[in-house]
Symmetry: C2
Subunit: 308 residues, 2 copies
């Protein structure tokens, strides 16, 4: 078995993952990211040892620890080159953790680790696979020939930061018009608020705290302005997915993140859009699905990527 | 040695390619694409036999024939699934050619074959490599781990048909806002004509036949409107390239096609743009270059892809 660690800006979530890809037991601690990295890693080690005790296994049963970390990762050396939300530069994450626990440590970008988890959950036998996450941002991970595709410098797969709307909305990355600035939950909330301002009589105006669900709930209840927000949002999501299909033609593309809880209500119009707009219609088409692991993808993917 | 065939809508160009990646001798014939495919293939076979004679080699010296064909290709079976400009559907190209010449035949998409040629010319030892062609359209080819990346259905790498300008110009593929509709020579000519209509006093208005060179020539001669066309065009090219870099982070990206003859005048501002806009600046960056094989890439790439 392996330990998978999903290192976030807010929490460190970890779990023991069995050979049959299931989380045996899991736990989490706050990251308290303003601390020196050495303290954070000490907590990660403590969390691993607690899990080992809790599961009643021996350290010799753990074949490896996999960490999914935000930022740019040097996978070969287990170093976090740069992670904005942790304020980390060149942190030797694997080396530091191995001071506490003597097992192999593998460090991946968190979106890549989650994509690998979803890939393995879907059988782990496809030639090519893409996972996207519609969350606070838009994340992506690409698996080719069974391996995480990282690019030569480790930072490939930034699917959310490809320009979709030339000269469009400003993105957190500093550029304008990124897919993320139109297809993230953050973008959907912005779009929803704009529609409420324009249609104060809309059902959406009743939501005290506008969320990613506000427009979807209103649309499902027959609210016209809500329907318009959702239709437009889904078109942005779908056109970005269509780009990915035209580029990668993966066997499968899965959609995760908070918005993916909308299920078929989100998925069906995306499938329709891609069917209509994909470049080559004469061949077998990419299967598009809602991700199945959801929040566990990070832990499971990080763990299983150890055995890659 | 191998034979490489670059099958186009207008001409069939073929060449014998040596182990050291050079064209030993080459020739071409008109495609006359309205004929039945059997006649076109018979001409391809005749062209191959002529080349063998001309080069004074024996058929047993030819290890394989590689064909770069437009359209969607089933590489495993050597079938052209669909090629719009040849009006071909499920043409068994390899099988048909083998009726005339008994050597292995490999069929690739033409853009992929050209990309593979450029990859081999650049050493053939990079983990990841992307070639784009700024021609009548915008073509692309991706090489990963030394192999042409085709996707599960053979039609991956349609980089020109990714949306860059949401709701933008109509593209030949039927969608709106494709990168190709902004970065191809066809697009540049459209942009140039629009600028001439707006600035009839521009030097560009003197060009009897507006081409992809019109605006570049005017810009270099100090014409303000020409400079504006070129700046805007290069920004479209560069933002699409920046997308590719954020997705693939390839070791190298090369730019081919007619416009690439502008050399550093085109390349330097693209490099500047990507340096400024790429998502992760803390790591080693993709090398961006002008393609070196130019028109020979198709023949050389198709030939060398036989030995892949």
């Amino acid at each position: 078995m392996y330990i998978g660690i999903d290192l976030g800006g807010t929490n460190i979530a970890a779990g023991i993952v069995s050979e049959d890809k299931k989380i045996v037991c899991s736990d989490s601690r706050p990251t308290l990211s303003e601390r020196p990295y050495t303290e954070i890693v000490a907590d990660m080690a403590g969390l691993c040892n607690d899990l080992i005790k809790k599961a009643g296994v021996d350290i010799s049963d753990i074949k490896g620890i996999g960490i999914g970390s935000p930022g740019a990762i040097d996978n070969k050396n287990g170093v976090v080159i740069y992670a904005n939300n942790l304020d980390w530069n060149n942190v030797p994450l694997a080396e530091e953790l191995r001071k506490y626990i003597d097992v192999p440590v593998n460090v991946e970008n968190d979106a890549n680790a989650a994509a690998y988890g979803e890939y393995m959950e879907c059988g782990g036998d496809m030639e090519s696979f893409v996972a996207i996450t519609l969350g606070t941002g838009v994340g992506g991970g690409v698996i080719i020939d069974g391996k995480i595709y990282r690019g030569f410098n480790g930072v490939a797969g930034e699917l959310g930061h490809t320009m979709l709307v030339h000269g469009g909305e400003h993105c957190t990355c500093g550029n304008d018009g990124c897919w993320e600035a139109y297809a993230s939950v953050t973008a959907l909330i912005r779009q929803t608020k704009a529609a409420i301002a324009e249609h104060p009589d809309s059902m959406m105006a009743g939501d005290i705290k506008v969320s990613g669900r506000t427009s979807f709930n209103a649309a499902k209840a027959g609210d016209k302005a809500g329907r318009e927000v959702v239709d437009k949002y889904i078109e942005y999501v779908a056109s970005g997915i269509n780009n990915i299909v035209n580029i990668f033609q993966p066997n499968m593309l899965v959609i995760g993140g908070g918005i993916s809880n909308e299920g078929d209500y989100l998925l069906n119009p995306i499938k329709e859009y891609v069917k209509k707009h994909c470049y080559c219609k004469a061949v077998e088409q990419t299967e598009i699905k809602i991700a199945s692991l959801k929040n566990d993808a990070g832990i499971i993917g990080a763990a299983l990527a150890c055995g890659q």
